[in-house]
Symmetry: C2
Subunit: 76 residues, 2 copies
């Protein structure tokens, strides 16, 4: 299996998109109807989010789920 | 929030990729180190998979996680 920590990769991606959009964690949390601490946990790679929560984050960032993931295999 | 059932969308995507690769559910399950019934549940949209399980499915299909998701917003 993959050595890359997908939770950390995903968290970094959420954070990068959020900053690109000039949103605070509070604003993202509000848009996603989640707690700010949850968003914070996600961004530091501490959450193994479900398909539905991933979709909710993408929706709040106004991007597709696909855009939250690298287009290249991390090991390729 | 989205009206599209993301679990069903994801399941359909896994199934389409699996068939494109000429794999049986048994073969995919074995490659992903999961039970065949789990793969079957995923494909019919009955599972809200975690980030790590999603990654495992993509890895077993030899594709990126991004490739399991549509590149267009379902509602856009």
């Amino acid at each position: 299996m993959q050595k890359v920590d997908v939770k950390k990769m995903f968290g970094g991606s959420v954070k990068a998109w959020r900053k690109r959009l000039g949103m605070s964690q509070e604003q993202l949390a509000e848009r996603a109807d989640l707690h700010r601490t949850y968003v914070s946990d996600v961004e530091r790679g501490a959450r193994n989010l479900s398909l539905e929560s991933i979709t909710r984050m993408a929706y709040a960032l106004n991007i597709t789920v696909a855009e939250l993931f690298p287009t290249e295999q991390p090991n390729g």
